[in-house]
């Protein structure tokens, strides 16, 4: 067990001092193949029957991961030096490589060459570390070659020099391109997976069997070889960038790209104090969403403001006809209709509020850290202009990502024809200065475009949601079904027996993961006992188990319109934890004593056993509350609870809690086809508010209690005060219609929102609230040790402390809170991991990210279903103007919860046509051609920013913000196979009465 065999010291130079680490060499490292008689059978990972073994070098591992992950590639030797280099260069690729090494089927063997006595080499004088590592890889390959005389060992490397040296050492070496060509017969799709840069290099080198390569060169080089001119400025060298940032010449920040235009973005910079606008493809200089970039400010006279016009689809057409990819003017993506998040303004960044002001504008001079997704980008191929090349020839095609933040990606494929109508995943490999678009390679096919399942898959991938089934290790943590409360649970002295209480749950219809239930009863002293019972998930999910880790990584259950992606395995989610009716379940209860005025006298937490009397839907609960004839226990209790909830709500409002609104919609789904049958506004009943009120009370109580016990590691949820500039737009819009909103405190905001009423438009107040909601920042989780007490504040609820306790089945944050609460009650020790500040920081970040992703996915799913819904329908709907622009309006359709742009030019023409038909009240507009350019529309409309009004020159039409209007909703095929909703203004007279809003 002891002692290394011999040892060599390895010196690594740090900044100033020498760091000496020991490095032990061993002679008990085996080759991992049954062909080697010395290798013990348990160490054998490679198959004895494999036709050849591959040994990869670092660059292959870094750039050809998609190739290595393909099922046809197996029996691969990964020298540990490669692993180390990959780890240092790209953590996510390292993770993928590790997963491959762990997968049995792939037979990837990690050969610890650095610790093997015969394959360890020392750095020669004058040899760079890279050269040394390359040599180490060759030595490892040579060792294998010598060790396994009967087996073919291929060194896979895209470095020609490396290959030459390997051949000199008697090792067979191939480039990835050559290797995939060799295997074209048995696995043709491999060739598409070869990363673009490598493929191009392989071709340029004129590799021996370049037959296929020539084709690729012909196809791929078509655009590029012809114009090897520089499109972009070269990025400054890293040293210069670092120096520049230090000297204040450049500014470092993360690029956030406009959601609707991949060539406009903002870089948040601390050194400038405000966000820097990056506008246009050239200034963006190949930076993409999320990249950490270095920016140089432009001279002030070149500063621009974000466009106050809607991006027009017309320009797109012009760009496409003007030479396609050669056009430098990026085609701004056309109108897009979307569900809009809180905290995000349609069509521009929150920071950009303030219309035409000049903002600090800059250009990207260097990219400090790329944020390219390793999971790839979903999208589809641009239709080929010419039917060039037969199916088997490599073609260069443009790939259009579904997410508009990203530019087109150029890929090489031989399957262009088959992929034309498919959604595919593509990964980016590089973006050279002489290439208009980044180069990437095909990863996999998701399915046919427009297919609901495919599109759902797309939105899940885009939001990085893990839909893999739970592993067997996770399932092993789930108690076997059928499960029931055991004697031991009942005998547990810390678990109160509350089965006698008339508990019930109230949830949306069809809800299977019931994590909360309620009860109320009158106490002899006239007060009420109020109880909230939460599924006792932590009784089943123990810290450190595989299930816990999986849940922690998923962080939340994701709800799509037709599907739920669980955080916990189904038996727990739907049965064991779910507080279903008429069965005994374990719960974690919060019980208060409250006066009839809903003043909390005392509160108490306990683990419990409950038996829910009924699992009601909101509608059922509401009807029980409303129907005074029902006098059964549950109904009277619900009424009492509702009374108390009302008082609580009023008190909360007095404290300044905001009542916000979101344009939630609800689909009625066909049970057979899963297609949406109908869509409508989500109805919020008083019962919803009652349940919400109880949950808020429970969450606040738990937050206070846990923070008191663990000031440094309680999990809280904070809602930061929104910066005043986020309200600018809302204030301006409100001012234009004479309403005043005071956002100085949440209380003043709440009161001024209450005051926003219009006699002629009952929906006005809700609309204002929806818009106010968008001004809010996101609420986030935090571990109490990370911030000071004032930062715990929850703005929206006007509560000093808040947390999430009530939904542990579907949110991991609640699981953590349950654990902290258990520790605070002394039921279980606090898990070590919760004390680890750094670890918790990571967990909290993940929770926030996943939470946001889940919301985005949910919204994307609604969008998708809206699209499907309107595919077969043409609807004219009631709408409200939410924003006025020089050439159009942004309108909101409450009934369907959609918002999007309409162009005045169209509407003017339409209006003209309509008015012409109606007798020509405004004659001047009649002569306009429908196909007039957008510019013409501009000149014919006058935009008044102060009044938020746009009117036609002749005065025939004018629109002010919050105006009522009517739109026709249609689905149109747009560029890049993006099917999208298109809104067009129609006279309100066309609006059917059924669609009228009141």
């Amino acid at each position: 067990m002891l002692q290394s065999k011999s040892f060599v010291k390895k010196t690594r130079r740090g900044h100033v001092v020498k760091v000496v680490r020991e490095h032990y060499l061993r002679d008990d490292i085996y080759s991992g193949t049954p062909l080697d008689p010395e290798c013990p059978p348990e160490a054998c990972k490679l198959s004895g029957e494999a036709p050849h073994y591959l040994l990869v070098d670092t660059n292959v591992a870094l750039h050809q991961m998609d190739l290595l992950e393909h099922a046809a590639v197996s029996d691969v030797i990964v020298p540990s030096v490669v692993l180390e280099e990959v780890k240092a260069r790209n953590a996510s690729v390292y993770q993928r490589l590790r997963q491959l090494a762990a997968a049995d089927a792939k037979r990837f063997f990690v050969f610890a060459n650095e610790h093997h006595r015969e394959t360890y080499i020392k750095q020669e004088p004058g040899e760079t570390p890279n050269d040394r590592n390359d040599r180490a890889i060759r030595v490892a390959a040579a060792w294998y070659t010598a060790r396994l005389p009967t087996q073919k060992v291929i060194l896979l490397t895209d470095d020609a020099d490396n290959r030459r040296k390997a051949v000199e050492m008697g090792v067979e070496a191939l480039s990835t391109a050559a290797y995939t060509r060799q295997r074209a017969s048995d696995a043709p799709e491999l060739q598409d997976l070869v990363a673009a840069a490598a493929a191009a290099r392989g071709d340029a080198e004129g590799d021996a069997a370049a037959e296929g390569g020539k084709d690729a060169g012909g196809g791929g080089g078509k655009g590029r070889a012809a114009k090897r001119q520089r499109v972009y400025e070269e990025h400054r060298p890293m040293s210069e960038v670092t120096a520049g940032i230090k000297a204040g010449r450049y500014h470092q920040g993360t690029l956030r790209v406009n959601r609707f235009n991949s060539f406009e973005g903002w870089v948040g910079s601390e050194s400038v104090g405000q966000d820097i606008l990056i506008s246009g493809r050239i200034d963006m200089n190949r930076a993409m969403e999320g990249d950490v970039v270095a920016v140089e400010l432009l001279p002030e006279e070149q500063w621009r403001g974000p466009s106050n016009k809607l991006p027009t689809a017309k320009a797109e057409g012009a760009g496409a006809t003007g030479g396609g990819e050669d056009a430098l003017e990026e085609v701004p993506d056309g109108a897009h209709i979307a569900q809009v998040d809180p905290g995000e303004h349609y069509g521009e960044d929150a920071a950009a509020a303030g219309g035409g002001d000049k903002r600090p504008t800059g250009k990207v001079v260097g990219i400090i850290k790329r944020n390219w997704r390793t999971r790839g980008y979903c999208g589809s191929l641009q239709p080929l202009k010419a039917a060039g090349g037969s199916a088997n020839h490599t073609q260069s095609v443009r790939f259009c990502p579904v997410e508009r933040r990203f530019p087109y990606i150029r890929i090489q494929t031989r399957q262009a024809a088959t992929l034309a109508d498919k959604r595919i995943v593509v990964a980016i490999d590089s973006w050279e200065a002489d290439s208009l678009y980044p180069s990437g390679h095909y990863v996999r096919t998701l399915g046919a475009i427009g297919d609901k399942e495919t599109e759902t898959e797309v939105l899940l991938i885009e939001n990085d949601i893990n839909t893999n089934p739970f592993t067997s290790a996770v399932h092993a943590c789930v108690p076997p079904l059928p499960w029931s409360v055991s004697e031991a649970d009942l005998a547990d002295p810390s678990r109160a027996d509350l089965r006698h209480l008339a508990v019930c749950s109230v949830d949306p219809p069809g809800c299977k993961d019931i994590d909360d239930a309620l009860h109320v009863r009158r106490l002899p002293n006239g007060n009420f006992e109020l109880g909230v019972h939460i599924a006792d998930v932590t009784n089943f999910v123990h810290p450190g188990t595989a299930m816990d880790e999986e849940a922690s990584a998923r962080a939340t259950t994701v709800y799509l319109v037709q599907r739920r992606i669980d955080m916990l395995p189904k038996p727990l989610t739907e049965d064991i934890c779910s507080l279903r009716a008429e069965v005994e379940r374990l719960a974690f209860s919060v019980i208060w004593e409250v006066t009839p005025d809903a003043e909390v006298v005392s509160s108490q937490f306990t683990k419990s056993v409950i038996r829910s009397r009924a699992a009601l839907t909101y509608a059922e609960a509401q009807s029980r509350i409303d129907d005074a004839r029902l006098t059964d226990e549950l109904s009277t209790n619900l009424r009492t609870m509702n009374q108390l909830a009302r008082i609580l709500r009023r008190k909360r409002a007095d404290r300044g809690a905001l009542q916000l609104a979101s344009p939630e919609v609800k689909f009625e789904i066909d049970t057979e086809t899963h297609d949406p049958l109908d869509v409508g506004m989500y109805q919020v009943r008083e019962a919803n508010q009652m349940v919400e009120e109880m949950m808020l009370l429970a969450n606040c109580t738990v937050a206070e209690f846990t923070l008191r016990h663990f000031p440094a590691c309680a999990m809280l949820r904070r809602h930061p005060v929104p910066p005043p500039r986020q309200f600018e737009q809302l204030l301006r819009a409100a001012a234009a219609v004479g309403a005043s909103i005071d956002p100085s405190t949440s209380k003043s905001l709440a009161e001024s929102l209450d005051g926003c009423v219009r006699a002629d438009d009952p929906y006005f107040n809700k609309l204002i609230r929806i818009m106010a909601t968008r001004c809010m920042t996101q609420a986030v989780y935090l571990s109490s040790g990370e911030a000071s007490v004032p930062e715990y504040h929850h703005y929206g609820l006007a509560a000093p402390l808040y947390t999430h306790f009530t939904s542990p089945i579907r949110r991991y944050a609640d699981v953590i809170v349950h654990r902290v609460l258990m520790a605070a009650l002394g039921l279980r020790p606090l898990p070590e991991s919760l004390r680890d500040r750094e670890l918790m920081h990571g967990v909290v970040d993940n929770l926030n990210l996943r939470h946001r992703n889940a919301q985005m996915a949910g919204r994307a799913s609604v969008e998708l279903h809206t699209l499907i819904f309107f595919r077969s329908r043409h609807v004219v709907a009631d709408a409200r103007v939410t924003k006025v622009r020089a050439n159009g309006l942004i309108v909101f359709v409450p009934k369907y919860g959609i918002e999007g742009p309409v162009y005045l030019e169209d509407s003017a023409a339409a209006a003209a046509a309509a008015s012409g038909g109606a007798g020509g009240s405004g004659g001047g507009a009649g002569g306009r051609k429908k196909g007039a350019a957008a510019a013409a529309a501009d000149s014919n409309f006058v935009y008044d920013e102060e009044k938020q009004t746009v009117r036609s020159k002749d005065g025939s039409t004018h629109y002010t913000v919050f105006d009522k209007c009517a739109v026709r909703i249609t689905v149109e095929e747009a560029q890049g196979n993006r099917r999208q909703l298109v809104l067009r203004l129609v006279p309100r007279s066309e609006l059917p009465a059924s669609e009228q809003m009141h």
Partner: protein, 267 residues
């Protein structure tokens, strides 16, 4: 940070249950009564023992037993860039106490009343496990100084990282933030534990596993040290025999068997 690769190798190429390379040199300082240079991998510690001698501070004198004084220091050059959270005196004090405590239980102090033994431990190079190396070096120096001791005392650390119990952590592993258990035992007396220190929390089951490993490590260290001591004694005996044959015998004069023969060579 990955401390144990899935292939079962640690950062420096050891397997989880392997010690680093041990080295010991005895009697390296001529001025000290006993001295030793002990290395565990890149951790290098020099220990010097002076005494037993009369106590210097009379207030400290103990009529029944010897007092042990211990001084621990870390050379300024021992850590390189890897500054720990300030080489505060507190850490040094704590290590000093740990070393002294361990040795007090090992030295038969009751045989040496009213005397004092000074032990100086100097860390020349630190790469994790310094306090174990210090204890081991001090033991060797004491053995060279022929201070009577109950048993060999050997110290070794073990930790728990990446769900694996690791023996003899180096600096990188030490800084990994996992539990770190330092154990010193008397191997000839059913592994009587004379020192047990632990950083960070650890579950009971894990602790047992780590502890077991650390004790096994101690036994291995003890075997190594015993071997070195015997080797050293043999070498000395051989040297002396050679010296006597040569007729020098200068050193042997001190072994005169009665006081009368003692020449007053100071005058």
């Amino acid at each position: 940070m990955e401390y144990v690769s899935p292939e079962g190798l640690r950062l420096d190429g050891r397997r989880p249950k392997e010690l680093r390379q041990l080295k010991a040199q005895l009697d390296v300082l001529s001025t000290a009564d006993g001295s030793a240079l002990f290395e565990m991998g890149n951790t290098k510690v020099l220990a010097a023992v002076f005494g037993p001698k009369p106590t210097e501070l009379r207030s400290q004198e103990d009529e029944k037993r010897a007092i042990i004084r211990c001084e621990y220091a870390m050379a300024a050059f021992s850590t390189g860039e890897r500054r720990r959270r300030g080489k505060s005196d507190r850490r040094a004090t704590e290590i000093t106490k740990a070393i002294r405590n361990t040795l007090e239980q090992t030295i038969m102090t009751e045989l040496l009343p009213r005397s004092q033994i000074d032990i100086y431990v100097q860390v020349l190079q630190a790469d994790g496990g310094t306090r174990c190396a210090c204890i081991n070096a001090a033991f060797l120096a004491l053995a060279v100084a022929a201070v009577p001791m109950r048993d060999v005392v050997a110290a070794c650390a073990a930790g728990y990282l990446d769900s694996t119990a690791l023996l003899d952590l180096n600096y990188m592993e030490d800084a990994g933030g996992g539990p770190d258990v330092v154990v010193a035992v008397h191997p000839n007396h059913s592994n009587r534990v004379v020192l047990l220190q632990q950083d960070n929390r650890v579950a009971v089951e894990t602790f047992e596993e780590v502890m077991e490993l650390a004790v096994a490590g101690c036994r291995a260290v003890a075997d190594f040290m015993r071997g070195r001591l015997l080797e050293h004694t043999r070498a000395l005996a051989a040297a002396r025999a050679a010296g006597e044959d040569g007729g020098g015998g200068g050193g042997a004069a001190m072994e005169g068997d009665s006081g009368e023969e003692l020449e007053d060579d100071e005058y």
